[in-house]
């Protein structure tokens, strides 16, 4: 197994060894795909966005800093790619905007509540996560699925570590409320 660090691989890419980008792709395309697929809720589009992220890594390789952490930089690019996707979708009228998630959630809450008993918890959780505002969904994905520490999330969102921690907790509380709401049960609160 190649023990070269992400940072060293990226430095090689920056120096012109494009083949090393393939190594980075092998390491990171699955979690990156998971992040984007969960964030935008469209698996096909997420594949395209993953490729765009790697294209941007190559395009902006000269801006990669020696002291930078590769995964944080990659997610930074991924967030911008996702934002471009939202803007493009909004112009084309098939937006997967956070507001739409809220609307879908509110409209379908009663129906979801009626049928939730027949569905297992995973389906409900999938819907609950999709119904969260994008900002909360994003921070939860970064924390629970991408396993980024609060410090990296803070750097990514350009906020303090304390603020990142609070936002994670608030997002988790919102998810819990939505989860029990869709389950047709009330939370303990």
């Amino acid at each position: 197994m190649d023990e070269t660090s992400d940072h060293d691989l990226m430095l090689a890419v920056r120096a012109g060894e494009l083949g090393r980008l393939g190594d980075l792709f092998e390491r990171h395309h699955r979690p990156l795909y998971g992040f984007l697929a969960r964030l935008i809720g469209d698996r096909d589009a997420a594949e395209d966005l993953v490729q765009i992220v790697f294209q941007r890594i190559l395009k902006y390789r000269h801006t990669y800093r020696d002291e930078g952490k590769f995964s944080a930089w990659m997610y930074h690019l991924a967030r911008r790619v996702a934002a471009d996707h939202y803007r493009r979708s909004a112009r084309q009228g098939d937006a997967t905007d956070p507001a739409d998630f809220d609307r879908v959630s509110d409209d379908g809450a009663r129906h979801a509540g009626e049928t939730a008993a027949k569905r297992d918890d995973l389906d409900v959780m999938q819907n609950a996560l999709a119904c969260l505002p994008t900002e909360q969904r994003e921070i939860l994905i970064l924390h629970r699925f991408q396993h980024l520490p609060h410090q990296d999330i803070a750097r990514l969102l350009n906020i303090s570590t304390g603020a990142a921690k609070v936002r994670v907790h608030r997002a988790l509380a919102a998810l819990r409320d939505r989860f029990f709401q869709l389950s047709g049960r009330s939370a303990s609160a």
Partner: protein, 282 residues
């Protein structure tokens, strides 16, 4: 601790990141508070469901597309730029044309250099002074006539004036001065003397002789013409007095021209200014 704070700390508590005293506090609450126990249970259920969500798996298409794109990017990076390509072709052309041995290359360079110098000296036109040619025949003819007249007059005057000593020339002028009524020939001789005699004394005497005929326009015109060409400041100042006294129409312009000419002697310029003042005052 309020409810929100407790929930926030639940996550850190579960992750084992809380300080010992806060962890102990939450443990105590979980033992005693029914609300906290429910809160904890809900959070656990939420986290379990969340962590059990399946990881989305990309299709093989993603890797295939990426590899294809990476190959293209690599090929694009490896491809030489149009400039590099053109340069390599030019290099190949000269490499094929020129000899490969350095000694032969040097010899060829010397030969080409010599050929260039020889060709340059033979083929390129040498620099010659530029001559302005008058293309108008009438103008050329007029200039030739004027040049001939000037040379003829110079010869005549020089011959007449220089053939006899200055004292004789002075006598001739004095004789004219004493003539009561001078004819045209006498006046012409005085004007010629004023214009061309090399002696300052003779010219001054001629000018004095012309004073008697200041009312004649040709005399005034002759003095005005001789004024800018006069080389002696002494004679020029005397001429300025003559011109001012004559009140000729061209007097003011002639004096003004003298004051503006940077080559004019300072004394003469001052005399011309005074003359202009006198003309203006009259």
């Amino acid at each position: 601790m309020d409810r929100q704070r407790i929930q926030d700390n639940f996550i850190d508590y579960q992750a084992g990141k809380l300080p010992a005293h806060e962890s102990a506090k939450i443990r105590e609450l979980l033992k005693t508070s029914l609300d906290c126990q429910r809160e904890w249970a809900d959070l656990q259920k939420t986290l379990i469901a969340l962590d059990k969500l399946p990881e989305p798996e990309p299709s093989p298409r993603l890797r295939a597309n990426f590899n294809l794109w990476l190959e293209e990017a690599q090929a694009e990076l490896d491809a030489p730029s149009p400039f590099t390509l053109a340069r390599s072709r030019i290099d190949s052309f000269f490499a094929a044309l020129l000899p490969s041995r350095p000694a032969l290359q040097f010899a060829l360079t010397v030969v080409v250099l010599i050929l260039g110098v020889v060709a340059g000296t033979r083929l390129l036109p040498t620099a010659e002074p530029q001559i302005i040619v008058q293309t108008d025949p009438a103008t050329q003819q007029e200039l030739a006539d004027l040049r001939a007249q000037m040379e003829s007059m110079n010869r005549v005057v020089s011959t007449q004036l220089l053939a006899q000593p200055a004292s004789n020339r002075l006598q001739g002028v004095i004789a004219a001065l004493n003539e009561g009524e001078a004819n045209d020939r006498t006046l012409a001789r005085l004007l010629n003397t004023l214009a061309f005699d090399p002696s300052v004394n003779v010219r001054l005497t001629a000018l004095e002789a012309l004073y008697a005929h200041v009312d004649l326009a040709p005399v005034r015109a002759g003095v005005l013409n001789a004024l800018p060409r006069e080389s002696s400041p002494l004679v020029q100042v005397a001429m300025i007095d003559f011109v001012v006294a004559s009140r000729d129409d061209g007097a003011e312009a002639a004096l003004d021209s003298l004051t503006r000419n940077p080559a004019t002697n300072d004394v003469v310029r001052e005399a011309a200014r005074r003359g202009l003042v006198r003309l203006g005052a009259s």
